[in-house]
Symmetry: C2
Subunit: 84 residues, 2 copies
Amino acid sequence: MQNKNYKEDFLLKFGENFGKIRRSKSLSFRSLSQKCDIDYADLNKIERGKRNITLTTIIELARGLDIHARELFDFSFTLKDLEK
Amino acid sequence: MQNKNYKEDFLLKFGENFGKIRRSKSLSFRSLSQKCDIDYADLNKIERGKRNITLTTIIELARGLDIHARELFDFSFTLKDLEK
């Protein structure tokens, strides 16, 4: 992982993982937005790594997807190659 | 879990878990704040469930604690008893 802004990378990786889970449940943005308090346009931006969402939005995503919030962070992301 | 505001509960449970990890690594708020870009007073509020932090703060906490962000969500939290 180049030493690009790791925070941007984290948002992108989170979005990719969120998209993978959403598709695995065959949920469109519109159908997911009806299961939680998040607008479908925002869901789209979250998936593209364009939203630095908060804990309360994270629990809303988990509620809509019917999963534990932990699963939203089940992706590989190492900070090892960054100097502290 | 009473049907109290589940979002507040989630922030409290996240804070409790974060505190457990921090203490398991024998890190004070001050020493942890030197390992990541988060002020020690904010760390204290996060631990008391008083901060609705964002994804970029989550990766900062993980960086400071030298863990994967997923571990910050390793606590039990079920939404099952809420009607959808």
